[in-house]
């Protein structure tokens, strides 16, 4: 039997995550895996905040979580803090967890909306154990007991993307992936059809050294440029800049912070936002901005003004166009990572999208002759995933209430995709959220952002008004007391990280499939 040749172009997070997964699952007798990358070109080198799904990815590969923490300088992440998004001077958290539990079959937030209207509720985020732990810089693995309030959250990591890629490279090479250093200067297409290929499919990659790398299936992880999917196959790109107008970023690492918080910060600025991602050995910082409203010099100034530690390297300046390839699987080429599309890292979704693309590729893995059935099904899956993330990120901009700049006013008044408009209208009308079965971000996330940014519907489920408000208030108070008692018992984030540094590793819980812990 001839081996199926898989060629991965690119050695960034996407390339090595893909190569490592393929190496883990594909039988080396049936498949060869080659990864081409160019040190000359390098990687974007950012991408440090993640979602809890990365835990399932590591688990699938059989990676020990504590070793992973040591190798990538990772810290834990329970939430994202969003200062200045609703109004300047105010802040909220979007946690990986639930806030409250339903009562008599009606969602908690309807009761909250009612008590809030009566002036008897605390801010919505206070009813989340993850937020309370994050604010107090505490961290503990979630409980496995669904009846325990400490089961109401999940966790992710802040990691050093370069170290993670290096770690995965070792993993992949140990499992038979061949790495080739070199710059691709030409993508050669089949000129004749055969049993396996059609005219126009990719046949091989030519390197600057002259070497030709033949393949059957090509995975394009070449970053924004899309060497195969776009430059060679001209797949086309759906531009979403009118909904997500930020188009530039500047990143800068700074010294480590002595007590790294277990959350990412994404602070709104006059025409964009600034991230702060605490790792064990350094802190990642960067500003994402819209060049039509803020020039590079201004952005640089704001970034350097607002970092909290001293820079340890120069500035990394990036340009991007938010959007997605029309098809992320075209002919015999599957684009994964930045070559497939880009959504700004406001909700740390890029590594998740890479992970889901790999998972779907494995599920739809073609034979040597590729059929439209698996390709179309894969593309349908990925379209949905991107659209879900897109809508959720646009929503952050759309529901801002800042009055300080043209940029934010533009965002308030811009048209949004129909799917998002319907979702927002549903919430405004009666506090409901459409819960989809496929894709990221369930009601807990929508609520955190809506309510956090001050979009409080005046109408809510009127059934909740029929319960005595005093009784409801007492119930809320008890809930807060339970959260406080649980968080009080948690160790500090710093000591939890320290526990992972020892060789005799601590036991960590299995990765749940949800963003919000086992109770979601």
């Amino acid at each position: 039997m001839t081996q199926q040749r898989i060629v991965v172009l690119g050695g960034g997070s996407a390339g090595w995550m893909t190569a490592a997964s393929l190496a883990k699952f594909l039988n080396p007798q049936q498949f060869t895996i080659t990864l081409v990358e160019s040190e000359l070109i390098g990687t974007v080198g950012v991408g440090e905040a993640t979602l809890p799904h990365l835990r399932s990815f590591n688990q699938l590969l059989g990676i020990d979580e504590n070793e992973f923490m040591r190798e990538t300088g990772a810290t834990y992440k329970l939430a994202i803090q969003f200062p200045g998004w609703g109004e300047e001077g105010r802040s909220y958290f979007h946690p990986f967890g639930l806030s409250g539990h339903d009562i008599c079959g009606i969602d908690f937030h309807h009761y909250w909306l009612h008590l809030n209207q009566l002036g008897k509720a605390e801010p919505f985020e206070n009813y989340s154990i993850a937020v309370n732990a994050a604010k107090q810089q505490k961290y503990q693995y979630p409980s496995n007991n669904p009846n325990d309030i400490s089961a109401d959250y999940g966790y992710a990591f802040h990691l050093d993307a370069t170290l993670y890629a290096r770690y995965l490279r070792r993993f992949a090479e140990q499992r038979g992936v061949t790495r080739i250093e070199g710059k691709v200067v030409e993508v050669c297409l089949h000129q004749q059809s055969s049993v396996f290929h059609q005219v126009g499919d990719i046949a091989s990659l030519r390197l600057d050294s002259g070497q030709l790398i033949d393949g059957d299936l090509f995975i394009d992880c070449s970053g924004f440029i899309g060497v195969m999917i776009e430059q060679a196959l001209h797949t086309g790109y759906e531009d979403w800049t009118h909904w997500l107008p930020c188009d530039r970023a500047i990143a800068v690492p700074t010294e480590r912070c002595a007590t790294p918080p277990p959350y990412t910060r994404a602070a709104a600025k006059s025409a964009g936002w600034q991230w702060r991602i605490p790792l064990q050995h350094r802190t990642g910082n960067g500003i994402v901005y819209c060049s039509a409203y803020m020039d590079d010099e201004q952005a640089e100034k704001i970034l350097l003004r607002d970092i909290e530690e001293n820079p340890t390297a120069g500035l990394n300046k990036l340009r991007f166009t938010t959007g997605k390839r029309h098809k992320t699987w075209q002919r015999n080429c599957v684009a994964i990572g930045l070559s497939a599309g880009f959504l700004e890292p406001l909700e740390s979704t890029s590594l998740y999208l890479i992970q889901i693309a790999i998972q779907k590729l494995l599920e739809h893995f073609p034979a040597q002759t590729i059929s439209a059935v698996e390709r179309d099904s894969y593309n349908r899956h990925m379209d949905t995933e991107y659209l879900r993330v897109r809508d959720f990120i646009i929503m952050h901009y759309k529901v801002n209430r800042r009055q300080d700049s043209e940029f934010w006013r533009y965002c308030q008044h811009m048209a949004v995709p129909d799917s998002l408009a319907a979702q927002m209208a549903l919430f405004s009308e009666g506090g409901r959220i459409s819960e989809y079965r496929q894709g990221l971000f369930l009601p807990a996330s929508w609520l955190a952002v809506y309510l956090g940014q001050g979009l409080v519907p005046t109408h809510y489920d009127q059934r909740v008004t029929k319960l005595p408000s005093e009784q409801l208030h007492r119930h809320f108070e008890h809930y807060l007391a339970d959260i406080k008692a649980a968080v009080d018992k948690m160790p500090s984030h710093v000591s939890s990280i320290a526990a992972t540094q020892r060789r005799q590793s601590v036991d960590y819980p299995a990765a749940p499939r949800s963003l919000y812990g086992i109770n979601a």
């Binding site: 594909l26 079965r437 109408h459």
Partner: protein, 482 residues
């Protein structure tokens, strides 16, 4: 059931439920075949499931046995294998069965094996895995079940208005909302109306306002079912904890075993003129067929948007696929649960209503597709009828995987069994398993199969289980666990 569910869910909020009971419909099914949602309903209502089964001639239902044109297969409610959500289990199975002429998926389903052996048991609380693997519905005498639910409603002080005449006089406001309904002895007013009549009495009467066909966008395409007939035979069958579907050219004969006898429903895709041929075919399949069958012409078209103004028309949509695979109760229960989730405030928001209708379309699409798939082997061309179904079948035939489900109408397990049963065989192996050598894959699978065999062997016979734990009762009231 609707009144009971609404009254119970709305009780904590002091919301009153009124019922208008229309004259009995001679075509109403005499038996009910539920899915696992029955246990869910009992839990919500606080009803004693055991008592209902005892009072309603009940038997258990682990799924449906299909006797196809050439193949036989089983569609259980529960997953394949011994534990749910095991990555690649189904793909491993398809791979190991590849090329086998009489490949039998049922051997890896404890529900299928138990049902075929006439065995049944509900696992203890300490074996939640087994409970899941033996997920069940029930077969109930429809009339007795209805009486129990009616008594339950009385306990909840639901006001009941039974009428003999279907002439309802309705009054709407300018916005098209239904304000009052005049009955011979009373005029009822309500904020919200749920219409369960097949004829949509509360909604279709006002053509200018609530013309479902004009406003409800396009109707769903017809299923190939055009006629149905039902009858009860005295033949008792205690050894079949499942429903059975028997294929004949142009339709399906559904058989539901009750303790008092066997209920049959025949669904035919033929025109009226060909019904005598259908009858002859049925007689060749089973002995117990009445001399004269009463056929009902089926309207399997329904509006796409059941919630219009302040009225939710569920009668027509519940009859969506003629009740062949999904019972009306099952569909209504699902729709009401969704409705309760969006319980309307006044004035009713347009977006809530639209959201319900969109969600409903997803649910209905899946009900429709699953029912339609039953006609694939009859050579019906389904590609124009449902793109979603053709895609699902193509993806399964290629990869042994399912396109994402849009609603809770069906489970993945049901699709796997149905598509495999219909003769589709995945052509590509799962690469995720390419590192697992064939002998160890076979070994793991045969261990699961052995476990299932052993467990089924140890299970009691369905008839004994019923006799021991569910002896028939004629007690008037079912306990209501508050």
């Amino acid at each position: 059931m609707s009144a009971a569910l609404l009254a119970n869910s709305l009780k904590p909020f002091a919301i009153e439920v009124l019922v208008i009971e229309l004259p009995a419909d001679p075509h109403m099914p005499m038996a009910e075949a539920t899915g696992p949602e029955f246990s869910g309903l009992c839990r919500i209502l606080g009803l004693d499931e055991r008592e209902i089964i005892r009072r309603c001639q009940g038997t258990f239902r682990l799924g449906s046995q299909y006797l196809g044109e050439t193949q036989r297969w089983f569609v259980p409610f529960a997953h394949l294998g011994m534990s749910a959500g095991q990555d690649e289990f189904e793909q491993a199975l398809f791979q190991s069965l590849k090329g086998q002429r009489d490949a039998d998926l049922d051997l890896w389903s404890i529900a299928a094996m138990a049902a075929k052996a006439g065995k049944f048991a509900i696992a203890g609380q300490d074996r939640l895995d087994l409970r899941q693997a033996l997920d069940y519905g029930v077969h109930l005498d429809a009339k007795a079940y209805c009486q129990i639910l009616q008594a339950y409603c009385q306990q909840l002080n639901v006001t009941w208005h039974a009428i003999d005449d279907k002439q309802l006089s309705l009054q709407h406001n300018d916005q098209g909302e239904l304000l009052t309904c005049r009955l011979p002895h009373a005029t009822l007013s309500a904020d919200f109306w749920v219409d369960l009549s097949h004829e949509c009495y509360l909604s279709s009467g006002q053509d200018s306002l609530i013309n479902v066909s004009a406003q409800g966008k396009e109707s769903r395409p017809r299923l190939p079912i055009r006629h149905s007939a039902q009858w009860m035979s005295a033949q008792q069958n205690f050894d079949q904890p499942c429903s059975q579907f028997m294929h004949f050219s142009g339709g399906w004969l559904k058989q539901i075993p009750l303790r008092s006898g066997t209920y049959y429903q025949c669904f035919s895709s033929t025109a009226a003129v060909a019904l005598p041929t259908v009858e002859a075919q049925i007689r060749s399949l089973i002995a117990d067929v009445p001399v004269q069958l009463v056929w009902q012409a089926l309207q399997s078209e329904s509006t796409v948007e059941p919630w219009q103004h302040n009225c939710l028309s569920l009668g027509q949509v519940a009859n969506l696929c003629g009740g062949m695979v999904f019972s009306e109760l099952q569909i209504v229960q699902a729709a009401l649960v969704q409705f309760l989730d969006l319980f309307p405030d006044l004035p009713i928001g347009e977006n809530n209503r639209r959201h319900f209708n969109v969600r409903w379309q997803d649910f209905a699409q899946e009900v429709y597709d699953f029912s339609l798939a039953h006609f694939v082997q009859s050579g019906a061309d389904i590609s124009s009828a449902s793109i979603a179904l053709s895609q699902r079948m193509q993806v399964f035939a290629r990869l042994g995987r399912l396109e994402p489900l849009l609603s809770d109408a069906t489970t993945e397990a049901q699709w796997y069994h149905l598509l495999f049963g219909l003769g589709l065989r995945p052509s590509l192996p799962s690469v995720v398993l390419s590192n697992v050598d064939t002998p160890s894959l076979q070994h793991k699978l045969s261990k699961v199969r052995q476990t299932i065999e052993r467990l089924v062997q140890g299970m009691p016979r369905h008839r004994d289980y019923l006799a021991k734990f569910y002896p028939l009762t004629m007690v008037n009231d079912v306990k209501h666990n508050e």
